[in-house]
Symmetry: C2
DNA sequence: TATACTAATGACTGATAAGTCAATTGTCAA
DNA sequence: TTGACAATTGACTTATCAGTCATTAGTATA
């Protein structure tokens, strides 16, 4: 649906500038060059539009993070991780601004949605910490998680307020150095394992097979042709009745991983098959 | 004015929960147990109320930070600094939540107001860095500033989301350790002096003598009696026509420093006399 | 007690916003 | 060309909110 994408992009521009509340549906439709009614053909409400924007971009960035953490070489891992974040930031500046600035002014449901992605990010970062430092950081692992999360958006405001040129390589290097320095030297963690678990008592639940099949159906509708469509159809069949080897499944997921709109379903399938 | 204080406190509770935009004046007045008209006797508009809340608390915390940075022993400085921040956070949780979450959804004037305090905080932190590390950190000074700013609100969400008991001593110790680790080990700064100056081209201007006198007049109106009132009257006289030694002035400022509502004027006077 | 003054009220106004739906426009097969 | 169906429009409805002001309640003074 091209119209949906257009609205989401144009709306993001206004949301980034003015915030969710201060941006009216009227303004959005004018900015899109469509009528008010037309917007309500694509989205049932302003909240659904906001929710779609959040899902669209957060699922992308989450899937990318996860792929990097499970596929990058150990030496490049941290560097790739930070680069990916700021690369996304740079490519989707409007949306990134929203995610940085507007945790507030969301309703309860949307806040939960953000919390969901936040917990996935934390899981991914913890996996990265394990890969990077292993049991060396056992006692400071959760504190290190908080440090990395803050380092991630440390220079965010530099992006938010300015259009000056920024060297992504120096940026990522600088953050890699800081992360390593902290990981190797902290002795007084503030966030302990117990504390972390207390803070995250509301666990993220994994998707059921049925929900996954439903999402695959949705994706199939969006994709017209080619190898990607066939891969998804095969993956769906295999979910309903297992008949392919795990190697084939992995290959099929790899086929769709980089296809626009498939990043998220690829991530969820990887989780499902524990790849 | 007691009514003003009541409204500011009650409004802060609602703003923290729902945000500025989502909180109506009606809600605020109901929460206060007063009528809508009554609120408009104390504040000319909703924006003026928000602005007053920002000024009231930001001036306090700024003044306290400044006092610590210029008066604490070098060994306790960092520790005191972080403690003060989380102490304020704990004491004024509602307001702190607003400052952490709601940079957006402010109008241009209020954003400028926040930027003003932010720049004062940066100045104060830079002074602290100079005192602590001197020229050892010459090349990474501004990068370190950004690190400290992020460390400050690193555990903020732990406060925001939970009511669990937090040990302020461990908290401050943990941050002191991290700061020292970073200060002593960074070699790849991302924010350089040039970059910092580019980002802060809009300089904060100091208050003129006339503005200071005007502010002193305002303060005099609020304070009924006692040593504090007399000290302020003397300070005002000395501003209009210098006749006291700098030692006496310093003592007078010290007299009012901890008196509620005088923190800010004390800070401004210290700046003015370069004490 | 009467009078003058201040503090407080809340119904009202005008503005703006989300969401609806009858009417219009566009498209395509027969 | 026509008629059936789908896509699109924007004036309209309903709701909410900031801010006003004529009226009332409260208080201090003569």
């Amino acid at each position: 649906m091209v119209k949906k994408q257009l609205i989401m992009e144009k709306a993001s521009e206004l949301f980034a500038k003015q915030g969710f509340k201060a941006t009216s549906v009227q303004q959005i439709t004018e900015h899109c060059g469509i009528s008010k009614g037309a917007l309500y053909l694509s989205f049932n409400s302003k909240d659904e539009l906001i929710s779609s924007i959040i899902d669209h971009y957060m699922s992308q960035v989450t899937a990318n993070f996860d792929y990097i953490v499970s596929h990058s070489d150990k030496e490049d891992l941290l560097y790739d991780f930070y680069r990916e974040y700021y690369h996304f930031f740079n490519k989707h500046a409007n949306i990134a601004k929203i995610f940085i600035k507007e945790t507030q002014s969301l309703n309860e449901e949307l806040i939960d949605r953000m919390r969901y992605y936040n917990q996935l990010h934390e899981k991914i970062i913890l996996t990265m910490i394990d890969r990077l430092y292993g049991k060396k950081v056992r006692d400071v692992k959760y504190d290190l998680l908080y440090c990395i999360k803050k380092l991630l958006n440390m220079y965010a405001e530099v992006f938010l307020l300015n259009d000056i040129y920024l060297d992504f390589n120096v940026l990522a290097q600088s953050l890699v150095e800081k992360t390593n320095i902290i990981a190797e030297n902290i002795t007084i963690p503030f966030i302990t394992k117990q504390q972390y678990e207390l803070l995250n008592f509301k666990k993220v639940k994994d998707l059921s097979k049925e929900e996954l099949i439903h999402l695959l159906d949705e994706t199939i509708k969006e994709i017209e042709s080619g190898l990607e469509r066939e891969s998804i159809l095969l993956l769906k069949e295999n979910l309903m009745e297992t008949n392919l080897s795990i190697a084939i499944v992995k290959g099929l997921i790899e086929n769709i991983r980089n296809y626009p709109g498939c990043e998220w379903i690829a991530y969820l399938l990887r989780k499902y098959y524990e790849l």
